[in-house]
Amino acid sequence: MTATLTPQRTEAPEAPEVRRDLRGRTVDDRVAPLGAALGALGLVSLVYDRLLPLSGTLGFLICWYLTFVVMYALVSWYRHPAPAVADRVAGVLIRTSALVVGGALATVIVYVFIRGFPALRHLNIVTDDLTAGPQDPLTTGGVLHGIVGTAIQIGIAISITLPLGVGCAVFMTEVGGKLARIVRTVVEAMTALPSIVCGLFVYIAFLLAFDVQRNGFAASLAISVMMLPIIARSAEVVLRVVPNGLREASLALGASQWQTVRKVVLPTARPALATAMVLGVARGIGETSPVLITAGYTTFLNANPFEGPMVSLPLFAYTLARSPEPLFQTRAFGAAAVLMVLVLLVFLIARMAAAQRRDR
């Protein structure tokens, strides 16, 4: 007879469990990049501009970085096999590319605010138009007409494109059929239309054809032509990812298709839809090229989109920036900074809309 003996467990002393650190970094891991960076800095600052015919800050940074990567690879080579060296170099390259991109974005935003600050400092930048005359000091005159123009143009463009775009997306995803495929193909193709061509189209088909002077309405038409395919397409993408099971469950419960779309599909897609819409609107606000051809330039406040030229913020910034006058350029940067604030606001709203819905 064989007896099964259970192994005797000896009581292990109660030791607090310590989580193992899987991503342990050795001293070498930490010091090697630092040393390489310092070494490269030393070498480059010695050689650059003194021994080699190189100058300029940007060039210095580029040289420093390249030397750093080479040095880091060499330092790693002493102690590590080839795969580890490759891992380190690739890690550095990938991290720095992210850093460069983030740095570029930060530089762009900060630079605009710094250059625009002299104009931005005076409150009249948002309460005045440039009626006083562009040569006046920064304490008079502002970009109010640009803000109003942007608001009106984008408002009209939104009221045209949002219902059309979302309705078209609902048609493409919910109704379907052969016609929907054609619509999808055409809409997708039109997203490739360069924005300047949208402006040229409205210029020829609306302004020249009806012999109308440039005005705000033409500009908003041009923006609409540009935004419509973008909005329709992004709305369609969003609606398409709504799980089909939800639709089927709703239909199985006896809901009609309209009820399904209104009570199930659209509410499910709402946060993503809101984000997509707002991002499309942000692009519409910042776009200059369709407006450039259609809106006309003015320094006066004009709130009537159907009569007379109506400048928008990006167009205003663009026009002033092309002038060699430093005062004009400062005003251009001021307008650009106001525009940036506007885009940031719209962007924040999009983020908040997305985050809020996710919390529920």
Binding site: P53, L54, S55, G56, L58, G59, D87, A90, L93, I94, R95, T96, S97, A98, V100, V101, G102, A104, L105, T107, R115, L164, G167, C168, V170, F171, V175, L179, A180, V183, V186, V187, M190, A192, L193, P194, S195, I196, V197, I204, A205, L228, S256, Q257, W258, Q259, G286, T288, S289, I293, P314, A317, A321, Q329, F333, A336, M340, V343, F347, R351
Partner: protein, 338 residues
Amino acid sequence: MENRVGKAFVTTVDNDRPRRLRVGRTLGDRVFRGTARGFGVTVLAVMGGIGVFLTIEAIPAFREFGWDFFTTAEWNPENGVLGLAAVLVGTLTVAVVSMVIAFPLALGTALYISQYAAPKAKRWLIAMVDLMASVPSVIYGLVGAYLLQPEMVYVSRWLHDMFGWIPVFRVDTDPDAAVFAQSRYTASALIAAIVVAMMVLPYACMVMREVFDQAPQGEREAAYALGSTRWGMVRAVVLPFGRGGIIGGTMLALGRALGETIAVVLIIAPLFEVKVRILENGTITVPSLIATRYGESVGIQLAGLLAAGLVLFVITLITNSIAAVIVTRSRSGASTEI
């Protein structure tokens, strides 16, 4: 008997027909479908109408200049000579150079966000890329013209000095002159391309990042379990998996780079000459041609501008379509599940 039963059985099968389902739509549904179809048709009519209109209006230019339209470099409405050669070469130069700059950065950033960044930082980084995509082009143009250009003059001279023997980097001046000709290096295709690169980079990055995020977790862990380093895992799993996204995202960004207007207009000096010397002052692209010349144009010149826009549209359309096909064809991950 058995036979008969079998026969009967067979005949029943033969007689089986799928039941005809009658879709009884309520009135509300019919109204809904009709309305939705109306929206679809409206959008189709508007978009299709624009395409047709552009083609019809541009035809006179093609008819007037024939094939010379594509081989003439000059754009000289006063003498009745219009040609796209220089413009198309300039457009492609700026777009390609900008992609050379944007591609590695977009790829690196996408890899960083999807594989390297801490989960908490990831959301912020994605928002950062989205924000970068929505910064207005005029702002990129301003920064490029006033901040980047003065710095790039030195880099351009250095590139010219070191690599001037490569035709692309040639500049018509002496880099070692005591007082170097700064103005020869300004307003060049390279500076415009850098700014365009900044603008289109987020679009490429978004697509790549989404595809990288879908790389199968099982395969990634398997690579780690076999002792792979992080880069080894990326090279063996993430990059092959995301190849479609990489190519598609790049093409998409290329399409946008081709159509960029304002930033380019703010930087370049218009020059109608077929050349690919990217460091040298002056170039021209289709959008900047339209932006600078539309006002003084009437009749055939306007048709010429439209034709230029149409050619650009066709190029962008082809690029985008190829991108779309590649992205949708790329591995969905189903075949790689363990």
